[in-house]
Structure formats: structure tokens, C-alpha cells
């Protein structure tokens, strides 16, 4: 029971970190701060526009794989079987 609780707490912490990044790259950079970021450029892309149409999707991908990797490690750490 003790183990299960800490496993779940660690999982929640990971989810929280991921969702903060998820929120910042899409809703933050892609929508709320888009005008400010558009002052900067990435090649022909305005930076805010790039986050909204490209960058956020790459970040989502990175997040899912990072989370999977972390969770696999966590599964092993708490393997009580």
C-alpha cells in the first residue's frame, strides 16, 4: 500500500510537469503570447506562428516519449513482484 501510494505520487508529479510544458508550448507560446513571440523569427517563420503550427506538435511528441520512458523506469523501481 505504501509503495502504491508513492508510485502514484511520483506518477502525478511527472504528469504535472508534462502538462505544464504541454500548456506553455501550445496555449502559452501558440496563443496567449503569440504576438510577443512573433517579434522574433525562426528562418521565414514568425516564432509565435511556428509554435502554433509546428513547434507545439514536436513538443507534444517529445513529452509523450519522455513520460513513457520515465514511467517504464518507475514501473521497474516499484516492481514488487
Amino acid at each position: 500500500m505504501e509503495n502504491k501510494n508513492t508510485y502514484w505520487q511520483e506518477n502525478l508529479r511527472l504528469i504535472l510537469i508534462c502538462l505544464v510544458i504541454w500548456f506553455v508550448v501550445s496555449f502559452g507560446f501558440g496563443i496567449l503570447l503569440v504576438d510577443e513571440l512573433n517579434e522574433f523569427r525562426l528562418g521565414g517563420y514568425k516564432l509565435g506562428f511556428w509554435f502554433a503550427q509546428q513547434g507545439s506538435i514536436y513538443a507534444f511528441l517529445g513529452l509523450i516519449f519522455w513520460y513513457s520512458k520515465k514511467m517504464n523506469a518507475l514501473d521497474e523501481k516499484y516492481d514488487v513482484e
Binding site: K4, Y7, W8, N11, L14, I15, C18, L19, W22, S26, F27, G30, I31, L32, V34, D35, N38, L42, G43, G44, Y45, K46, F49, W50, A52, Q53, Q54, S56, I57, Y58, F60, L61, L63, I64, F65, Y67, S68, M71, N72, D75, Y78, D79, V80, E81
Partner: protein, 579 residues
């Protein structure tokens, strides 16, 4: 028969033959294979199947066209339809897989120990899936009528026949393997023209990079800067900054699509097909890889199509195209009525501007952008033929996934779970097939006689999933004490608020003239469009559920134990085929 038609027949019927062969090879023999492919699909295969399942006619045909005309505002679709996978991978899929049942209503019924909750979920699921499927059937009909020049009705019958064959025979197993093939077809068909066009315009064959590159005409000007200049010269909104509604509307719209994606049952169902919790998490990652391949190319397709269109009509500023010299694709699409020209000033030239009084391109349907794109860019005929096969693959694969979600919720949840629990597996399998056949006929009927509300339906499907199913699942997993009454009240409130808002602005059941508040941005709640309202519905759902929970008994101990069990990947993993 001309060359294009010849290639199109080869591409379309070649791919159909492939789907048939797969269907015969992957017949389903048990209910477990029929609903969940026996739980033996690898994460990579599942990711590909989810990709095809998810990317519908809307993603393939409509999205790039929407982006082409909305510019930056179209980003809500790109972020909204991909961001939901982050939620699925972390907050829903692993625990629902661990619980080990076949369907979403079954999970809700178990977690909230309530038949009513299960029935409410079945209703949400069926309404969301049926509304979604109408669009797919229409997509099949349109693709056939445009590319093979057969009647819309005939095209629809052929499409129904193909889906019938592999979905009814193979169930989830047949559908999964067919979807893998369909994914390959659709992504090839989408990417090849994009690579050609990106190379033509910018010299860079990778569309994601081409969009951020300079034009290949030697001017050294960035493609997006030129596009901004061209469209603003004609009075259109600046491409890279024009918002869709206000910032709040874009925020709510993106959030609604994200949580709607995470709550759509035909997607969640796919996570029951993999063998373990670990595989469920990996599946979500692979799914997004395959989806991102199309979704990061789409903005390039949109921007380049818009640029090519503007450039064809007005090659240099002030030098407009003579109507008599319009290219062949222009004539082809005029025949379909999706492109219309009216020579208002009588000069024989085409003026395309944002001003309705001088604009002579009276109609430019957004949906034609992806389909016409290869012809606008003068690509070879086999590329155009491939796009036809790709559009059909996208529509058919999504239709099959939706049909499976509908038939399993009726045969497994409603009949086996609630009405006739003593049904044998063999009878259930047969019932599943009959229900699916009936669903195909029903979907075909709706495709032939699209109801007045067809245009609003996709928004409704996402709004329903976002405001009813997603919050219920989240609370079921993340709150141990959430009880049956809270969940049911929450679902009904979220659903009610969303439908009320959509109906009051779009008409009751979308019947024109019955909207009592008018479909005007000025009347919108804080400027949030009806399509974006699912997020507000979800907030209402959560709030109502927690208020009701405070006033009633929290969930009993055995339910808390159940939650603890599916939160942990260890211990007894319920095997799908034990049911």
C-alpha cells in the same frame, strides 16, 4: 479513357483489393478479436492504426484548406487535434487498459458502479459517433464523384460495400490491419504532392522546412512574407497573424478539440487492443508520430496552396488572369460548382479580392484546396490519382473505427451488459456483426440524405465528447471518492449546457430559424463560438460533479480499491479475452 482516369482506377481499385485481401486474412473468430483484436496488437501497429482511425476525411481533405484561408487562426485545428494525445497517454489510456474491458461505457459503468452512468455514456457515444460518421460517408461520395466521375450515390454504395466487407468480417482485428494499410496509403498520398510543391516553390523538398524558406524565384524573399504581402494587398487579413475570433475563442476552441480528442470513444477503444499498460503508453506516442507526419505537413500544404492560387489568378500585381485562359483544373472545379466566377466589371479578367463588391471569385470552396492542389501545381497525373486513393482511405478507415465503436456499445454494453446478460459469446459475435451491418446501412442512408445539421455535426461530436465523456473519465481515474451521482449529474450538466449553447446559436437540432439568440459573434458568451464551447461544458461538468459529491456519500471502499488497482500497472492485469 484518359490517362488520369486510368491511373485513378488503378490506384483506387488496387488499394481496395488490398483491403479485401487483408480482411480475408484477418477474420475475427471470437468476441475478443472482434472488439479488441484479441489484445495482441503491437504498439507500433496500433499507433499506425490509430493514425488512420483518427485522420478522417476532415483531416485529409478539409484541414489544409481551412488553414489556407484562416492562416494563423487555423492553428487551433493543428494544436487541438494533436494535443489531446498528450492527455490520452498520461491521463486516460494506461489506466483504462489496466482495467481491461472492451468499451468506454463499460469502464464508466464499472467505475461509477451504475447502470445509469453506463447508459448515459452509451447515449453520448452513439450521438457523437453517428454525427461524425455522416461526414465520412459524404467524403466517400464526393471523392468518388469527383475522381471517377460516377454518381455521388453510386460512390457511396461502393464505399459502404467495402466497409461492410472488412469491418463486419474482421471486427477490430480486420479493421486494425486494414487501417495499417490505409495509413500507408493516405500518408503517401498526402506527402508526395507536398514534397513536389515545396520543392517547386522553395527548392527545399521537406515541406516543414520549405514553409520557413525563401522562394526559389531568386528574390530571396521568405515564402510566408510574400504570402502576407500578396493577401494584404488584396485586402485579405495578414496570413501569419490573423486570429480566429479573439484570443479567448482560440484558447477555448483549442482546448475543446484537445479534450474532445481525448474523450472520443473510437480512439480510446484502440488502447484496449494492446497487450499491456506499457504498450498503451507507447501506442499513444507512436500514434502521434504518425499523426504528426500529416499534421506538420498540413500547414505547408495550406500556405502553398493559397500562394499558388493567388499567383495563378494574379501572376504579378495588377496583371490579372484572362478568364478565357484559365487552366484546366479551374474548368474542372467550375463544373462541380465548388468554384465560381462572375465577371462583375466585364473586363474578361479575374479579380480576386476581399471586397465582396469587386471580388469575382464568387465561390472558392475550402475543401477543394487539397484535392486541386496537385493540378494547380501541374503535378503528374499519377500523383493526382494517388490523392484520390488517399482521401478514400482516410474516410473509410475512420468510418470503420466509428462503426466498431457504435456496434460494440450496442451489442456489448446495451444488449449483453444490460438487457440480455446471459447471451453466449457466439450469439454476441453474431449480434455484433448484425448491429454493425445495420449501422452501415443507417450511416449510408444519412450520407445519401444528409440532415440539415450536417455542417454543424463535427463540432457537436467534439463538444459532446469534451463536455460529457472526458470529464467523467478524468474524475473516475484521478478522484478516488467521486461517486455515481456526481458523475451522472456532471455528465448531464456538461452535455446540457453545451447542447443548449450550440442549439441557441445554430438552431434547435440545427433547424434554421429556431435559433433564439442568433448566430452572431456579438451574442456569443465572451466571444466564444459554439464550436469552441465544449471546454466550457467540461468546466460545468467538473463543477457540478464535485458539488454533488459534497452533498452525497463518496464512493464505497471496493470502488476505491478498484481505482487503486487500475492506477498501478502491477498485480492482476485483466486480460481482454477472459471476458
Amino acid at each position: 479513357m484518359d490517362e488520369l482516369k486510368f491511373y485513378t482506377y488503378i490506384a483506387v481499385f488496387g488499394t481496395f483489393g488490398l483491403y479485401f485481401a487483408i480482411a480475408i486474412w484477418a477474420r475475427a473468430g471470437t468476441t475478443s478479436e472482434f472488439y479488441a483484436a484479441g489484445g495482441g496488437i503491437t504498439p507500433l501497429q496500433n499507433g499506425m492504426a490509430i493514425g488512420a482511425d483518427w485522420m478522417s476525411a476532415a483531416s485529409f481533405i478539409s484541414m489544409a484548406g481551412l488553414i489556407a484561408f484562416l492562416g494563423y487562426g487555423g492553428s487551433v485545428f493543428l494544436m487541438g487535434w494533436t494535443g489531446g494525445y498528450v492527455l490520452l497517454a498520461m491521463c486516460l489510456a494506461p489506466y483504462m487498459r489496466k482495467h481491461g474491458k472492451f468499451t468506454v461505457p463499460e469502464f464508466v459503468g464499472d467505475r461509477f458502479y451504475s447502470r445509469t452512468a453506463r447508459i448515459v455514456t452509451i447515449i453520448c457515444l452513439i450521438v457523437a459517433s453517428v454525427t461524425y460518421i455522416i461526414g465520412q460517408m459524404k467524403g466517400v461520395g464526393v471523392a468518388f464523384s469527383r475522381f471517377l466521375e460516377v454518381e455521388y450515390d453510386t460512390g457511396l454504395y461502393i464505399g459502404m460495400g467495402v466497409v461492410f466487407f472488412y469491418a463486419v468480417l474482421g471486427g477490430m482485428k480486420g479493421i486494425t490491419y486494414t487501417q495499417i494499410a490505409q495509413y500507408v496509403v493516405l500518408i503517401t498520398a498526402y506527402t508526395i504532392p507536398a514534397v513536389f510543391i515545396s520543392f517547386q516553390l522553395t527548392g527545399n523538398p521537406i515541406p516543414q522546412l520549405g514553409l520557413g524558406s525563401t522562394l526559389a524565384d531568386g528574390s530571396g524573399v521568405y515564402l510566408l512574407d510574400r504570402l502576407d504581402l500578396v493577401v494584404t494587398d488584396l485586402g485579405f487579413k495578414e496570413y501569419t497573424v490573423s486570429k480566429m475570433g479573439g484570443t479567448l475563442n482560440m484558447f477555448a476552441y483549442t482546448l475543446s478539440l484537445m479534450i474532445g480528442t481525448a474523450g472520443l470513444p473510437h480512439v480510446i477503444m484502440r488502447f484496449f487492443t494492446v497487450p499491456s499498460v506499457k504498450a498503451a503508453r507507447a501506442s499513444a506516442g507512436y500514434a502521434l508520430v504518425f499523426i504528426a507526419l500529416l499534421y506538420t505537413v498540413a500547414p505547408a500544404v495550406g500556405a502553398m496552396a493559397r500562394y499558388n492560387l493567388m499567383n495563378t489568378i494574379e501572376p504579378t500585381a495588377g496583371q490579372n488572369l484572362d478568364y478565357e485562359q484559365r487552366p484546366q483544373w479551374f474548368k474542372d472545379w467550375e463544373k462541380t460548382g465548388l468554384l465560381e466566377f462572375s465577371d462583375k466589371n466585364g473586363d474578361g479578367k479575374i479579380q480576386y479580392t476581399a471586397d465582396a463588391t469587386t471580388n469575382e471569385m464568387v465561390k472558392v470552396d475550402r475543401d477543394i484546396m487539397v484535392l486541386a492542389n496537385p493540378s494547380i501545381a501541374n503535378l503528374p497525373n499519377w500523383v493526382i490519382a494517388l490523392v484520390a486513393a488517399g482521401g478514400l482511405a482516410a474516410a473509410l478507415s475512420t468510418a470503420a473505427g466509428l462503426l466498431l465503436a457504435i456496434s460494440s456499445s450496442i451489442s456489448h454494453d446495451l444488449l449483453k451488459g444490460i438487457l440480455t446478460p446471459d447471451m453466449t459469446e457466439k450469439t454476441e459475435l453474431l449480434t455484433g456483426r448484425i448491429v454493425m451491418s445495420v449501422s452501415i446501412l443507417f450511416a449510408g442512408y444519412l450520407g445519401l440524405n444528409p440532415p440539415g445539421f450536417a455542417a454543424g455535426t463535427v463540432a457537436l461530436a467534439f463538444g459532446l465528447a469534451a463536455s460529457s465523456i472526458f470529464p467523467a473519465l478524468m474524475m473516475g481515474i484521478f478522484s478516488r471518492s467521486m461517486n455515481d451521482k456526481g458523475a451522472i449529474a456532471g455528465m448531464c450538466a456538461g452535455l446540457g449546457v453545451t447542447m443548449l449553447y450550440v442549439f441557441q446559436h445554430k438552431g434547435i437540432m440545427f433547424i434554421p430559424g429556431t435559433s433564439f439568440l442568433g448566430d452572431m459573434p456579438a451574442d456569443w458568451f465572451f466571444g466564444i463560438s459554439p464550436n469552441a464551447f465544449g471546454a466550457v461544458g467540461a468546466i460545468v461538468n467538473f463543477s457540478v460533479a464535485f458539488i454533488v459529491l459534497k452533498m452525497t456519500q463518496p464512493a464505497p471502499q471496493e470502488i476505491r480499491d478498484l481505482v487503486d488497482n487500475f492506477r498501478s500497472p502491477h498485480g492482476e492485469i485483466a486480460e481482454s479475452h477472459n471476458h
